[in-house]
């Protein structure tokens, strides 16, 4: 009796280990990422035979069971099975490393260049250039003179993305310096071009209205670290967004964090701070706490990119505070500062597709991507299915109000229809046109204007514009953004060291009574911490890329 109990308990444990194994053999075979593509692909030989591949995604709701995905399968025979990877950037990064360490990665990888680099170095990726030569005529056609940009330094192509073929500024682009409608109204709709003009307008309004809805008015605020200190100074200098760097005419890369432009911008913040016009807690506002302050309607101006501002503005509209929404102006240091901030790059490199060693018949994936680059494919992934997601009006593609309302009512509409699949990344860009002369995506001016409320239309009319993108300067093509090219070896550790100084000193400079000495101390510290070395590394990398680029596009 007593022995039995012990034995049973011990046996339970032993069994649980054993059954763990056997259970796995049943379920593991069908659901481990690498198995499925191989199993079904091996059965296929001819062109349109059905084949299934796995692909990772950070969008947990993505499914292939949508009208558009199915239409793609009809056309190409290819089906993708999504392998969701959730948990934010850090957790996802861990998972990609674990995949690589264990060989468990999917057939198709949908990853950033940095991660793909690790896979490439481990020999986990298939080179694609021969396959593209054979099966990708449309890929070559769309990339045109930019085709060689796809190549890694070793001459192989390991990943695919889209070329950005926009011929005009996409209609949903907007500047990130923002000023409340009511402030503009009170000042008589002035044109605000410089930080000084902005300061004066804010001061005038603040003096007259120290409180809004009974709470203290905040003339200027921000969120996070980069958006408070770095990005606005790059924008005010009229420079393209190369992250924390600036690139001069000779291709020299300079750190922005202690640049002359930064000095001027810190001065501006310092002035706001010392006159009590800077948000008292700007140094600790995060992405959770900042939106609510904006949504209260008492922040007059700030530096907020569109992706951040959309939600609090929606909240303002819902609360009926239309006059507390924001105008989006490009604001510069001086009236004669040249504005080159509206940069367009040909390479749409970001999250790219690569084909892993686990995929059988990689040509089928290439053929799939090749189809996406046809006009038919572009219409399908950009606009959807004719008669359902869009219609033709005077020969032009048009998204009806009915569909727009459906989209507004159901945030998952795009996912359910298949408009937001992982293949969407192969769109040739908002503002780009197909061979039929019409836009490749629905984000047209007409469409954007339709979404504006009355107060926004009114303000825009005062300035004689239709959309916020109209305020932006002419787009300029640049070879790439610095953060798109591979980081030079050793740069990240140096970066981190400089970042730590910057993080620590920035608030102190803004709050300084004696600005000049604080700034100089900071600059010395940065220079003593390997700034020149880091800049040298990046300059070298940039110049190498630039000459490759010039060669590739035949300059």
């Amino acid at each position: 009796m007593k022995k039995q109990i012990v034995l049973v308990l011990a046996a339970t444990m032993a069994m649980s280990i054993a059954s763990g194994c056997s259970k796995n053999e049943q379920s593991g075979a069908s659901s481990s990422p690498q198995a499925s593509g191989a199993a079904s692909a091996s059965a296929s030989g001819s062109g349109a035979a059905p084949v299934t591949y796995t692909i990772n995604t950070t969008e947990p709701k993505l499914t292939w069971d949508t009208p558009i995905s199915k239409r793609l399968t009809e056309k190409t025979g290819v089906t993708f099975k999504y392998v969701p990877v959730i948990g934010g950037a850090d957790a996802a990064g861990q998972k990609y490393d674990l995949w690589l360490a264990s060989g468990d990665y999917p057939d198709t990888l949908y990853l950033q260049p940095k991660t793909l680099g690790k896979y490439r170095d481990a020999g986990a990726l298939q080179p694609l250039e021969d396959l593209i030569d054979q099966y990708g005529p449309n890929i070559k056609k769309r990339f045109g003179s930019f085709y060689n940009l796809l190549k890694d330094p070793d001459g192989h192509i390991y990943s695919l993305y889209n070329p950005n073929l926009a011929e005009e500024t996409p209609a949903d682009q907007q500047a990130s310096f923002v000023v409340q409608y009511d402030v503009l109204k009170e000042a008589g709709y002035p044109t605000i071009k410089t930080l000084d003009e902005l300061y004066d307008v804010l001061k005038a309004y603040y003096d007259k209205h120290p409180t809004i809805d009974g709470q203290p008015t905040i003339p200027f605020s921000g969120v996070g670290t980069d958006l408070v200190y770095n990005n606005p100074s790059v924008a005010a200098a009229g420079q393209p967004d190369h992250g924390r760097f600036l690139i001069d005419g000779e291709g020299n890369v300079n750190l922005n964090l202690d640049s002359a432009g930064s000095e001027r911008y810190y001065q501006f913040l310092n002035k706001l701070y010392n006159s009590g016009m800077l948000d008292k807690e700007i140094f600790t506002l995060n992405y959770d706490t900042a939106p609510s302050k904006i949504a209260q309607g008492r922040i007059l101006a700030g530096f907020y990119p569109k992706w951040f501002l959309d939600q609090p503005e929606q909240s303002l509209r819902q609360a009926g505070k239309l006059e507390r929404q924001y105008a989006k102006f490009p604001i510069l240091f001086d009236a004669d500062t040249g504005d080159h901030s509206n940069a367009i790059v040909a390479s749409g490199s970001g999250n790219n597709w690569a084909i892993s060693k686990n995929a059988k018949h990689p040509e089928r994936i290439i053929q799939f991507i090749d189809y996406l680059f046809t006009d038919e494919g572009q219409k399908l992934i950009g606009w959807g299915i004719e008669g359902v997601d869009y219609e033709l009006k005077d020969g032009k593609r048009y998204r009806s109000d009915e569909v727009v309302q459906k989209m507004a009512a159901d945030p998952d509409y795009g996912i359910k229809e298949g408009l937001s699949g992982s293949y969407s990344r192969f769109s040739i860009g908002n503002g780009a046109k197909l061979e039929d002369g019409d836009y490749a995506t629905p984000l047209t001016k007409e469409y954007i204007v339709r979404g504006y409320d009355s107060a926004t239309k009114e303000i825009l009319a005062k300035y004689g514009k239709e959309t916020w993108s109209d305020f932006l300067p002419q787009p300029e093509y640049i070879p790439a953004f610095l953060w798109q090219i591979p980081e030079p070896e050793g740069a990240s550790a140096m970066n981190k060291r400089l970042e730590q100084i910057w993080n620590k000193e920035s608030p102190q400079i803004v709050m300084a009574k004696d600005f000049a000495s604080k700034w100089n101390g900071y600059k010395k510290q940065m220079e003593a911490s390997g700034q020149k070395q880091l800049e040298g590394l990046f300059t070298q990398a940039w110049k190498a890329y630039e000459s490759e680029y010039n060669k590739a596009v035949g300059k």
């Binding site: 360490a101 468990d104 993305y161 609510s292 209260q296 939600q311 945030p411 969407s424 990344r425």
Partner: protein, 298 residues
């Protein structure tokens, strides 16, 4: 028991109740705040200022969470994991703790060291992942149960409780010829219910709340746990907010999220926490003073 109450006693009782009441209010706030946010319109929530009462009532946040078709099966699997995992773990833990409380057990010292040191070492994620793969535990239910089956901390807590019991107990049983198994389950376990209930709570809450092993090892939807599904919904709302749906920025301005991460997070926490709040009072009955040793002495 306490027949007379002095003035000092009265003062103490009043202060004690007052203090505990205050502490209760203070610790209740975060949950009330989440409850209010989960029932408040998510776009309105962005404005802030929601404390313990919703401003614009809505059930949308719950509807969004419950619209996930996998939620039911995930909940059932989470329950299964919690029940199976807790039963196995508490049984094994208790047995191990008992052997270690036996001062004459030859392997006691060695096992103690193995146990204690295991709490302070970790080989990191990559070796662990490869181990799980090697054991063929990927895509299996048992990866939820086996790796965490023995928590050294819990073993030590139970061991310490066993050691505190008067030695006479098990000695009497032993002299009557009882085996170790009988001593443990017939004599020691009944008088150790408070600590076993505590460990049961720790283990079950751990199982109920975990999702990372699901995320790392089990990609099959049939092995999805509740917490994992909720994490997915939360992440979805985050990416909707930042327009991460596609890399090309092909996001329609007009299709703004009907909910926000803040609201979803609040709703998730409420959904996951309420079952735990129901289980705890159930376990509390084992904490009643005096039901244990006093009774045994008779």
């Amino acid at each position: 028991m306490y027949k007379t109450r002095s003035a000092g006693d009265m003062l103490f009782v009043t202060l004690n109740y007052g203090l505990l009441l205050l502490l209760g209010l203070f610790t209740l706030y975060p949950f009330m705040n989440l409850l209010a946010i989960s029932l408040n319109d998510s776009i309105d929530t962005v404005r802030g200022g929601i404390h313990i009462w919703p401003r614009i009532w809505t059930a949308t946040n719950y509807e969004i969470v419950f619209s996930n078709p996998q939620l039911l099966s995930a909940t059932l699997l989470s329950l299964l994991r919690t029940v199976v995992g807790t039963l196995l773990s508490v049984t094994v833990t208790t047995m191990l703790a008992y052997t270690l409380s036996r001062r004459d057990y030859m392997l006691r010292r060695a096992i103690n060291y193995v146990l204690v040191i295991s709490m302070y070492v970790s080989g990191g994620l990559i070796p662990f992942y490869l181990l799980v793969k090697q054991l063929h535990l990927m895509n299996s239910f048992w990866v939820y149960i086996l790796p965490g089956l023995i928590g050294a901390f819990n073993v030590l807590i139970i061991r310490s409780y066993f050691e505190q019991l008067p030695e006479g107990f098990s000695e009497a049983a032993r002299i009557d010829g009882a085996s170790d198994v009988q001593i443990l389950f017939r004599v020691l376990v009944p008088v150790s219910m408070p600590v076993i209930a505590t460990v049961t709570l720790f283990v079950s809450v751990g199982h109920w709340n975990s999702w990372f092993d699901n995320y790392l090892y089990n990609t099959s939807p049939s092995l999805s746990l509740l917490q994992y599904e909720l994490m997915k919904i939360l992440l979805q709302s985050v990416s909707q907010l930042t327009g991460g749906a596609s890399a090309t920025g092909h996001v329609d301005t007009q299709t703004l999220a009907s909910t926000s991460p803040e609201s979803i997070r609040a709703t998730m926490t409420v959904i996951v926490t309420i079952p735990i709040l129901f289980v705890y009072p159930f376990l509390q009955k084992y904490f009643i003073k005096g039901m244990t040793i006093g009774a045994m002495k008779e």
